[in-house]
């Protein structure tokens, strides 16, 4: 069952448990939703190569990872600033199943309203498939061009300025080099 289905089921159960609402009761604001889809490294590569983006920023994070949480606002800021110019942000949580509610809360708090992913499969093939230089420490950030060619890899916390400079470099490349 997908994380989204679990959340929807939970909300439905909660709604069903309450007493019937009076007609005058103000409508309860629907809880914001965020989709967390399980994905292997291969599926993430497919997501990176999916059309429509000129540059793709992939970040592997986890709720228990302090530097991941610290850099997260910068990733969201970059998405806001560059989305219309062709940036796609691919967020991959390395949380385990029991940490999913916390991951969901964090994503909602950060304003994430788009599809995100949850790492699946054994650690070592996942790590090596994304980048053989990655030791496995979180966070990890990778930059790809629109064709899914990897341009950059970074292990550990990044900075807004560093990422911005790299994204600018890709976006200012002539369009005939960016399929």
């Amino acid at each position: 069952m997908s994380a989204r289905m679990v959340a929807a089921l939970g909300l439905a159960l909660l709604a069903g448990c309450g007493a019937p609402r009076e007609a005058s009761t103000p409508a309860v604001e629907p809880e914001p939703e965020v989709e967390i889809q399980p994905a292997t490294a291969g599926q993430l590569h497919q997501a990176v190569r999916a059309g429509g983006a000129r540059v793709v920023l992939l970040n592997v994070w986890a709720t228990w990872c302090a530097p991941c949480r610290e850099e997260f606002p910068d990733l969201m800021r970059l998405r806001r600033e560059y989305r219309e110019r062709g940036l796609r942000l691919v967020l991959v949580s390395a949380d385990i199943d029991s940490q999913l509610p916390e991951a969901r809360r964090f994503l909602i708090d950060q304003g994430v309203d788009f599809l995100t992913y949850l790492k699946q499969g054994a650690d070592m093939p996942f790590i090596d498939s994304l980048d053989a230089r990655w030791s496995g420490a979180l966070p990890a950030t990778l930059l790809y061009d629109g064709a899914g060619r990897q341009l950059w890899f970074h292990e550990g916390k990044t900075t807004y300025d560093s990422l911005k400079a790299r994204i600018d470099r890709v976006l200012t490349a002539p369009s005939d080099t960016v399929p």
């Binding site: 070592m124 496995g136 420490a137 950059w152 970074h154 292990e155 790299r166």
Partner: protein, 211 residues
């Protein structure tokens, strides 16, 4: 300039840009076959005594494990780590667990918390604090937990994870560290020498600035 030429030129520029941003410390992990660096550096243990890697060196080998109190990956593995360390410490493998995290970054990694963890886990080997994080730097360690196993001759024979499933012990299919310890304790070659797992970054202490 012809469009094709532009493409090749820019592709070349992009290729140059395909780089790896180093992790914080930017050092490569100790290579298989190498000796333990900074092996004579004394580090304070949870019992108040000082230990170096040389001090704990076993007749059949030495396990150096970078770990901490705070990382969920460590917490998932810690009972297996304690069991492995306690078991092989009796079989001629010297064992030392090193916490290189800066307690300023992770308050639960301070010495009192280390003492609590060591007691709760029943560690029969030293659990010490790398008070400068320099030992971890010298090893090129990046995460917790991260194991470095040396053979009787002091050469690195295994580097990596405890096993292939931190969070579901019942689903472990490859006991990397156990197998490496068993082989080393028997004087045999380690089959799988390097493995990886997800883990927490080591929260390195800042290096003092020279004035």
């Amino acid at each position: 300039m012809k469009p094709g030429a532009t493409s090749w030129m820019v592709l070349g520029m992009l290729a140059i840009a395909v780089t790896a941003g180093a992790a914080e410390e930017g050092t490569k992990a100790l290579a298989i076959g190498k000796a333990a660096p900074m092996a004579d550096v004394k580090m304070t243990g949870v019992d108040g005594k000082s230990f170096s890697i040389m001090d704990v060196k076993g007749p059949k080998g030495t396990l150096v494990l970078f770990t901490c109190n705070s990382c969920p990956w460590v917490k998932a593995w810690e009972s297996r780590i304690a069991e492995l360390g306690n078991t092989y410490a009796k079989q001629g493998i010297g064992v030392i667990a090193i916490n290189a995290n800066d307690p300023k970054a992770k308050p639960e990694d301070d010495m009192p918390a280390m003492q609590v963890r060591a007691k709760a886990l029943g560690l029969a080997f030293p659990y010490v604090m790398d008070a400068t994080s320099d030992v971890a730097r010298a090893f090129g360690a990046t995460r917790t937990p991260e194991a470095f196993l040396f053979d009787a001759g002091g050469k690195l024979v295994y580097h990596g994870a405890v096993d292939d499933n931190a969070h579901k012990p019942a689903e472990v299919s490859a006991r990397y560290l156990h197998d490496a310890l068993a082989a080393t304790a028997s004087g045999k070659a380690v089959a799988t020498k390097e493995t990886k797992s997800l883990g927490c970054t080591i929260k390195f202490r800042s290096r003092p600035t020279s004035s």
